[in-house]
Symmetry: D4
Subunit: 178 residues, 8 copies
């Protein structure tokens, strides 16, 4: 079907070929055009549909229709302004390794409790020496300490190890799609 | 001046009081109104200015002017669609701890080389037992292996330790501002 | 096709239902009947086809045909007598964690060199603090020492950590299929 | 050269000398002929007795008798088809290091409980920093997670550390005998 | 104001320029002259005011006034003789890493209890693998053992790791100010 | 001689008895009176001799003479104002564990190089998993980073591990003498 | 023969039965009587043969003959006075874990070099995270430091970790034989 | 040269100077002659007094008297035959690192309990990451396992880490005295 569409758009026949799509994307019925639209929206979601359409050489109505479909499918979760944490004084960052006490479904139970602590913006349950990796953003050391105190005083948290971020070399949550 | 503005907007006198602002924000001349606008834009940057203005009980022109200023100051870096990595088949995630060989300015040199490896979306230079913490997103194990191979074959990388993410409990890069 | 077969074998309609098959098995066209045959062959590959056929309530010719097909597809790799290592005096076992020097494709290069050392019966390239996990079987300590010496004297092996097996609580390489 | 020798010894009565046998094998009364038969059965246990007899230049009746004896002595435990785990979709493998809470006979008690968890195909009680090394085979990450959850929720399990297998470089449980 | 003063002291106009002051010092209203006085007092707090005044080319009355102010502000905490620990037989030194049991405000509670153990002269609550780093001075091994015993028998102390100091290469608590 | 002095001061016969002195102090000929004088000077080295004499119930001339002798013997190294680091903006503190490359007299060579890096106020050569423990004082994170960069770029430094000090619970270099 | 002897000594028929001997002892032809003699000689090798003979209820000539044989077989290596290290001022003890650089036969090569360093009284090549465990006896810290310096400056020694012995709770090299 | 000196001192009363004696030895009143006698007795405690006397060029009566004194002072603890563990089948050796649960006087309490476990011939209470280092001698793996089981089932033992000794490169408990 993807090919059919492209055939009906002969003038785009010379569009550069994409990398082979992931299996999951293929199964979700997400085609090359979708990926290109998503990429455009990641870079600038306030761009006008006309410019995306022109860039991808497809009708504006197609862009509109596809975005609607991707939103409904939950592929697009939100349109969000990316802010500069440093200029907002939120540059006391830490990666925290957490060990928890084992028990039935401990990782769901504890993970959720940690996730709602203010300042904790990512909680990964990992397989390895530690149970969780957290990413924390604070105003300064004292603010960080308050956040850490909330986590280390949870009865199921056994140990935390803070790695203060000395420098953010890259932090770009956009997903490489093509 | 912040206070003056709020005084000249008596109908907003009952707006909820905000947390004390961070030192840095204060010094950058970012006031409460700015923080509320930023928060709105983080949640939905395609929202119409009218609705933001109404929500914050300030004139639309103020919203417009302030956003322009925050963009110019680099506080707003980008407007970006937040995608669901899992639905795009990008759900082989790993947190990688990296040790590098020491040398003058090694962390800048190596950090930058790692940052451009496809799949690596965050590179933190940390103070602790490791030198870098990386966040990596891949399609599947083989895709991850190719990424890791690129990193581990760098002459200055001494050791990597992969922690496969079993579950993303939270990953929300929005900054808590108020 | 799987369903068709079972439909044409109405007398087996009451055969117990199996667990949902894995995605991979499904894609390889391996059906429930195949999995049951494989399981029988894992338990006793010298069993007579008749008894397997009777057990599974399918014609002997089907069993024969399917085994042939599974052999050709490489699903069945070998028919092998499982020996008791302890009664053969091969009960000095060790799990060895190996760290190697990084470099391009180091894990393939080094992994292969380790795999041919006599006594090493399993070599896993793992993601974590170590690079390889080895399973080694030796006659006694001195025999083990000779094996270890061969590995630790490889120029690309940085460190090994031997965990002597005090007791084999379970070691059954048969795959649970249903 | 081995073959030449054997040819010049048509009666086979003085078959070429093997490597010095292990003490244990000697004490069990397992001789060189037995080891050769066992090796043949490890490579192909469905081979016809005639071909083994021919290969080893001994009467078929001897092969038959000796196999019977080795089966009765428990040296041969089973005849089993060796399957390709990957083609069956069972290629999410992990090596898990487990620490348990100490107590009288803890390793027997806990080891047995872990051994019956589906997916766990080997449990080694080891001397070192950890108490057990497990080998686990799962269909995929979620399947693995269910297995791990069963282990980590046991009250006597203190900590587990998963090392995801990135590549199986070798896994051949056959025992080198000669 | 800082500049005004220097202007009223024209003959010191050629005093060497200082490093840019820290933000905190600036905010506390501590100027260059103050830093120089503090440095002089760190090196020899029994020096006569005249010699400090002469060294800094400012009136003795200014020196007197400023010292008074710095004392009142708590910038100067004490005037103390620095003794040679080794000549007093206090040269069994240790750096001790302590892990404590987590709980609400555990670090304040436990930290204070450790701080009053005789021989413990520094207690740092640190972010990392350990909770506290202690510096201990004892007469000899037995004396050290008594100190350690007091700490390790506290119910909230989980583990200590002693690093005996083999040699004090530097220990100079004076703060570099200029 | 110590006793003689006290006998000649009969009115002080009821002075509280001291703890048994350390062997080293005894051998250096440092008596109880000396220890009391040293303690007084640690607490306030600008105290008037009269007040020390009165406190210890000995003639002022004795105090004067003994202090002179302790200075000459190097027991008193310096008279120093103890400053409040935090009020001077020097409150980014770290304990750094350093591993160095081994070689003849490496600890003296490397230790000295580290000791002169600005901001490093203590360097301990320790026996254990690490070679050196450093205490570092910096203005802020960037200042600390410059210090760390100087250390980690030394060719003989193999690895550093920073433990950021979250809170100074105690830091009092005075030696307990009695 | 062991039994025969005991039969020819009917009066000793009621001698307490011994633990089953080790395989190795049995194969070396060392019988129960030998073990009892060895035990006696471990406890007091200057005891008179008569008293040993009486204690074991065997003729003195047998004791004499057997000791001669055990000496010749190398079972008895030496007769040595066991001294009290502490009373000789040799009570600065350390257990040192050593990691060496790998290479062909590195453990023999390096082990021997370490074994001749004065103060090192035991060198064990171990299987685990470390390569060697050393036991060291020194007069004091400075003496220990000289010993350690000799080891850490060897080009093949990668890392040492000293564990100072705080207390010798037991150190009795006598072998439990019965 | 040592010998020359000794020849020029026919009476031996002032035997050649030895290495500077340890402080402790000096304080115990142990002189050079004593140390030489002790050394002789460590090498061969069954040597005849005449030969020691001749070797040291002192009267036999002096040797006799001094030995008596050293025995009474507890400097000589025992005269013991040093046996070859390997020839007695006691060559399954392990170094075990033990962590215990903290509590008042835990190291004395637990240390003593461990010390009486058969097979444990040395128990050192150490300062570092572990609490105890044990030296264990067993007949074979099963024997070792029984010993370890006794230790790990003690309620106060938290963790043990066994390092199997692959080779005893040196084990000579004699103390270097001169």
């Amino acid at each position: 079907m993807k090919n059919r569409k492209r055939e009906s758009n002969p003038k785009h026949a010379d569009a550069p070929s994409l990398k082979p799509q992931s299996e999951a994307a293929k199964r979700s019925g997400i085609g090359e055009i979708d990926l290109r639209i998503l990429e455009a929206l990641q870079d600038d979601c306030r761009a006008r549909l006309e410019s995306i359409a022109k860039e991808l050489r497809i009708p504006k109505s197609t862009v509109h229709y596809r975005i609607r479909r991707l939103e409904q499918a939950g592929v697009i979760e939100r349109y969000s302004a990316k802010l500069n944490a440093s200029k907002l004084g939120k540059d006391y960052l830490a990666v925290v390794l957490v060990r928890a006490k084992y028990g039935p479904h401990y990782h769901q139970r504890i993970g959720k409790k940690i996730a709602v602590v203010p300042g904790v913006w990512a909680v990964y349950y990992v397989l390895g020496d530690n149970d969780f990796v957290l990413l924390i953003r604070a105003n300064d050391r004292d603010d960080y300490m308050r956040t850490l105190e909330k986590i280390s005083s949870m009865p199921d948290v056994e140990r935390t190890s803070t790695q203060i971020v000395a420098k953010v070399i890259k932090e770009d949550p956009r997903i490489t799609l093509t």
